[in-house]
Symmetry: C2
Subunit: 568 residues, 2 copies
Amino acid sequence: MFSTLRINTATREVKKETHSSKEYLLGGRTLSSRLVSREVPADCEPLGRKNSLFFCNGAMSGTTVSSSDRISIGGKSPLTGGIKESNAGGIVGTRMAQQGLRCITLEDAPPRNASWQVVVIGKDNVEFINGEFLAGKGVYEKSELLSEKFSPKAGCITIGPAAEKLLLTSGIACSDPHGVCSRYAGRGGLGAVMASKKVIAIVIKNDGEVKPEYVDPDGFKEGSKKIIKLLRENPVSSQFTKYGTAAMVDICQALKVLPTRNFTHGVMEGAEKINAQTMYDTIKERGGEGLTQHACMHPCAIQCSNVYPDKDGKLLCSPVEYETMALMGSNLCLKNLDTIATMNRIANDAGVDTLDCGAAIGVAMEAGLAEFGDNEAAVQMMEEIRNLTPLGRILASGCKVAAQVLGVRHAPHVLGQGVPAYEPRGSKGMAMTYLSSPMGADHTFGFTLRDEEDPTSKEGKVALSKKFQVIGSRMDAMGMCNFVRYSVRDDMTPLLDLIKARFGVVISDKEFDDMVKETLKLEHQFNSDAGIPAHAHRFTESFYEESQPETGEKVDITDEETAQAMQW
Amino acid sequence: MFSTLRINTATREVKKETHSSKEYLLGGRTLSSRLVSREVPADCEPLGRKNSLFFCNGAMSGTTVSSSDRISIGGKSPLTGGIKESNAGGIVGTRMAQQGLRCITLEDAPPRNASWQVVVIGKDNVEFINGEFLAGKGVYEKSELLSEKFSPKAGCITIGPAAEKLLLTSGIACSDPHGVCSRYAGRGGLGAVMASKKVIAIVIKNDGEVKPEYVDPDGFKEGSKKIIKLLRENPVSSQFTKYGTAAMVDICQALKVLPTRNFTHGVMEGAEKINAQTMYDTIKERGGEGLTQHACMHPCAIQCSNVYPDKDGKLLCSPVEYETMALMGSNLCLKNLDTIATMNRIANDAGVDTLDCGAAIGVAMEAGLAEFGDNEAAVQMMEEIRNLTPLGRILASGCKVAAQVLGVRHAPHVLGQGVPAYEPRGSKGMAMTYLSSPMGADHTFGFTLRDEEDPTSKEGKVALSKKFQVIGSRMDAMGMCNFVRYSVRDDMTPLLDLIKARFGVVISDKEFDDMVKETLKLEHQFNSDAGIPAHAHRFTESFYEESQPETGEKVDITDEETAQAMQW
């Protein structure tokens, strides 16, 4: 049996429900998207009373399985106007499991001028405490205040000052193993949804006593070891262990899909200044608190995270990941890792998504508000976000709104969500994935890039994107880290065996994939009911009219092809 | 035969076409909306190459019929994402007629970095001249430069600095009889569409030699006199002659629908400080260039326009109209006509719509950026628009975008267009009209307020709104001023007789209304094809959840009722 804590933020009524269906067993996006689809009226205002927010851990939460403890946060997105699942690492999933929880639901909303609340979940009760002591503070300070008040071991979920102002790129921050809320469910503006309910933090106390039970403990132990072995042997995930996701800089530069100069180019001269080796060397050289390898959750055999230190070896930002290095680096023609890490830190403190804000700054630079390559100006723009100035609010509204307000037509987004770190004209597989995602442009959704024979051709890319949509979504579907997918992409048995050993429930490959596809179907249906037309699944017209100089390519994917890639 | 000048702004190709159908005969919105519907792909980007802009004068353009010389400007709106017809007074319609033109079309768009162009239309040719001398200048200065270069008698169409930056509330300014581009097709952001084509002005020279011809000159003369008589005898239009539209302040205050404090109230204490009598007395007292009565076009028997002078009797703004007095006055709790006129002047100079910017400032005040009632802060916000600062750009993006960026949920708009000066909770007829307009919230579309027995009840309001949708749209349909409608609302014969006398073409009441209804149908169809879902025709949820204090009313109109009011 899996428990849901249903919290009405207007009446403060708290109800506990239990469920035993397979969607609750799997948790993750399987559950969050079904709950959104079922309980949120598709045509409601994302920041209104009718939206709900669902926090779901996954099938292996609380166990010793590597990389299995992400939480999926679901709701209607104020950024895209559609359904959203955004997931994060950290320790919240584990703390939920220790409280015997699969899902926490925030419903309804108090009046506009209600004061901030913290929802504190412990083994004995759920309390609402006044949250005004956190108001207006950055996420780092919020983390400290929460750690002091509730212990660094509590699982904390909080939002930044940007979310408090309902800004569209604001994420939800979850505590890492050190008690710092630095693990972001960053995309889609779910932080603003949480803020609209006047909940400034959720604390899951470390007093939970529920231990995982196993139908077949030995089988489970063995299966768990197998996952570690698979992860260590896999060439992709093991590369991430050494270099983190920064390894993608060189790969993308070589493939001419490194977003550069507000997505007008796919190659940046001097990209080696921000590549994985430079980052690795910098961290090693500076020493101190720097770590080239770091786990966002325990246990994890990949440890793709890092701790990037400043010149004195003090923690500047953790983690600094490829997507941020591209969107806040090459996309702005910045060639300085310290600048990128500083921007990333400010984004984390303000509580905004680094991709969407990086894309917005690119648009602002195109509008002439600063020069591309100007490190100081870029950091200053992040400070504007942190300080919630008018310009900061424009940038923290994401690149679609920024482009509207700043009068820029070349805006890298689909459904309002900023395009991730792979130039779509240079990779038609990624373009297809961005276009057909129910979440707006999203790279984790169907990551084709490593498997495209000819990235610039659209031939076969409907099928390829769909293949990887399933492969990627399988991980979200049960709360696993997306990087596990490389080890199980051709054979899900190791994970399905773990489910069997833990719960005694047999889910076949086919049944599992059917559930994954059903999730996609429900998500697309929600968006359609929300009034998102098929032709919103396009890039701005500039991507179809202007060639990317390095490849000579435009986006040439038709609405019909996109529709095929959305058909399940 | 009616001529269209088809101008390709990318290739600079100019073609002249002639047509003889009744849609060209009527011109106005009948023509502009048909052309948009036929030639603009509904799903295109409003600021992209595929949008076109149509300038259509009307059936009586160039004749001596009172109030008959408005031009309808049509295109896809960047503000609403739907079809737009926005019309303006002034002398452009006449100049077009004198050049033998019914329609000017701007098609396609040059590359993003092309320089500004002025399109100069004379009797012998169409020229493109470099328009950089106008770039960045306010509309008043642009007017002077255009007058100097081409004579104050030329018919000029220009845009402000806000439009040059593609801002969503930027209008298109047309010259008045004094050579000042102060007559605005203000709504829907068509100024940005013109800017996207890199056309900073269109000049229709005063060398046109086409004179109106009449099948029945005596009948026409007589019919024309009859219109003047009707206008002078009509109680509503004759009231406008004395007081202008400002007469609405007291009416709306009495009906509790005067937008106050970001549309949270419908009554403003001290409203008499900005009412018609105060305005009339102020203008009379100050003398100088002030005029309580003024014609935006010749001839006009209504003369609802005015010239509002500053303390020294110098022209401050012309005209100052009720909608602006409410949106930039009571809506911001401002009780000072000088402040309102100053804001209005800055808006005209920046080239933005006063309603949409007033609504956006209301949202900004609700967000806490300034206090309601702070005259200086309100003027400062307009200066921010004029100076194109980040805050100014937010405000000039209209209240929907401003609300997104500033984190405000109570935003008075439908389809992104700001709600005009009648609180919808206090007048269910106006609410119905706002909701069911294909243009976004629009008061000229179906002005029920004077004919609602019980404004707070929604009973019968579908039918009432539809009745006035037709009555209002008839005027747009042939380029007449909307205020003529009071004189012909029960009997269109006087206008149809003029058509017959001029062209020898008989259009029956029924045929005319069928064409009006067909226009509405086409407009709704365009919006539907553009992906605007039925449920976009709603106010923000706050209008349904929170009562207006003075009437105790919420918006209670259902989607079904709105759909009925959109059914033709």
